[in-house]
Amino acid sequence: MRLAYYPGCVAQESGKELDMATRWVARALGIELVSFPSFSCCGSGFLDEANEVLNVALNARNLAIAEKAGLDLLTICSTCQGMLTLANVRLGDPKVKSRVDGALRPLGIEYRGTTKVKHLLQVLTQDIGLDAIRAKVKRPLQGLKVGAFYGCHLLRPADELRWESAEEPHSFEDLLAALGATPVYYRGRVMCCGFPIQFVKPATASKIAGAQIVDAKAHGAEAMATPCPLCHISLDAYQNQAEKAVGHSLDMPVLHLPQVVGLALGATPEELGLPRHLVSTAPVLAKIGARA
């Protein structure tokens, strides 16, 4: 299977470990990632607030790049998934389409809308399939209780994202179970990580992140896992701030989606970039018998 690989900004910068783990897992599962150095940022929801049509146009350009190569587009970030999918939807509005076409046509870019935008979680659970993944598990995550944390824009708004229930999703938990882990169900798994207001009001953002970690922990989670690098920033890199907000220590290891898969498929912690995390993942590695 060949896909246009859209790593997004964070996985190419401070979230490099997500890119490392994605490439490792793709190799292990026979997914060919085709890189396009011409992809731009998806706008991350912030550009959408400043200028919606401009944001749609940038993503129409991204989609046109994959379309020209005849490939569907793979995202590894809930926010990229949301913004690129929303662009496809909004380009269905003739008013938006005509303004965007007006900007792209002089550049020789044509958007036709045939490229599907797929998040890695969808590719793993729908295209590769749980049976195929189960067959490749070398190090089952036996006994590890993991709280999936979806990230808003992978699920909502559901009318546009159109792949699973926004309020009762289960693909991530199904995947965790296929890897041998015990999925933990908690309300916070579909809630917000607080990231969008990290720059607006950090104390409130940290309170929100803290609430979700506390909830996961209260339901027995020993680790959390997220398909979104922005959630990862909130839950891992800023977990010390979340601890301040909730008033006690949390010590919750937070894994990127492909890191969980990679661990079960036999990757070393270094290959998956685990030493780059702010919160130590050593308890997870000890539990599944991986060398820390």
Partner: protein, 326 residues
């Protein structure tokens, strides 16, 4: 002809703040057809099993907005939530009062916080007596103008969005999805003469605390899609006033940041949004992260075709919002 029934287990939140030390959950088991709405089941509990169960409802037809509550952790109108799917998924139905509003008794909450925020946005046309509407033109709006706020009048003020909102939960400064969606309705009403003031005021009044998590849009039983109206408000506020608040500053800084290289320069964004004094407060956290993630300080390479991005900006970053299209 009677329909097959299922055994339905309800765990219902019970709490009387005057008499009880804390809340408890009472279990009721009923045999009911799977299409039975949760509200009908609760009324049967009250009629047959426990007359003390307190809840709020009126029309039973998803019109009055009285019976919003948490059903298996989701904000729902009890009158239009059938028990079947809930039982199929969770095996039982946990019924709780709405969140983010104090409980008066059992499933009834004090909606004052919700209504207070609604009153605060001045939910009425602001008219300037010096510029009265011309005689005989009571409704001088074109269908296209009405179309801009066609979703908001559907709101039945049930507060399901307010209950579902994590920003409301975390920060009393956030007005909540419904109040902001209603504010949008007046901001785009061509008859309203307070639009500019409304946009200026809301920028400092919590607009930028919206997380755009879209939980309100999922919770809304009338498809008002509050999160999208809030997005529209943000774009209008920026167009009206520019970058005055941390939120609008961040959105505009993000826009300029992407323009330079086609992709994000994380470190520069932090500097652009916080300004130098703000950045200083971030230094300890920045160093902590940088030690594990040294890329933080590297500016990314410009993308191939960054000139195309610049041309797209030149064509579309013209200070117009999507509604200004020809």
């Amino acid at each position: 002809m009677s329909e097959a029934t299922v055994k339905a287990t309800f765990d219902v939140y019970r709490f009387d703040p005057v008499r009880d030390a804390g809340p408890r959950y009472d279990r009721y088991v009923l045999d009911l057809p799977p299409h039975t709405p949760v509200l009908t089941a609760l009324l049967q509990v009250r009629a047959d099993l426990d007359p003390s169960l307190t809840l709020r409802y009126s029309c039973r037809s998803a019109i009055c907005g009285s019976c919003a509550m948490q059903i298996n952790s989701k904000s729902r109108l009890a009158c239009e939530a059938p028990i079947g799917p809930e039982l199929a998924r969770d095996g039982r139905i946990v019924v709780e009062p709405m969140r983010n509003q104090p409980v008066l008794r059992d499933l009834v909450v004090d909606q004052e916080p919700f209504w207070r925020e609604y009153r605060r946005i001045e939910p009425h046309l602001i008219l300037d007596p010096r510029h009265p509407m011309p005689e005989g033109t009571a409704n001088p709006m074109t269908p296209a103008e009405v179309d801009r706020f066609k979703e908001t009048p559907r709101c039945i003020a049930c507060a399901a969005c307010y209950s579902a909102c994590p920003a409301v939960e975390a920060d009393p400064a956030f007005p909540g999805p419904m109040a902001l969606a209603k504010l949008y309705r007046f901001v785009v009403d061509p008859r309203d003469q307070g639009q500019q003031d409304r946009l200026v005021k809301i920028q400092t009044d919590g607009l930028w605390l919206c997380l755009r998590c879209h939980l309100c849009t999922e919770a809304c039983p009338k498809d008002v899609r509050p999160s999208e109206r809030i997005r529209d408000l943000k774009e209008l506020a920026i167009a009206a006033q520019g970058a005055t608040e941390p939120g609008s500053r961040h959105a505009l800084a993000f826009k300029e940041n992407i323009r330079e290289r086609g992709q994000l320069n994380e470190m520069k964004l932090a500097r652009q949004t916080a300004g130098l004094p703000g950045l200083v407060t971030q230094v300890p956290q920045g160093i902590r992260i940088w030690r594990k993630k040294p890329e933080l300080l590297h500016a990314p390479h410009p993308i191939e075709g960054a000139d195309q991005v610049e041309k797209i900006y030149e064509a579309l970053d013209d200070g117009k919002t999507k509604e200004d299209a020809p």
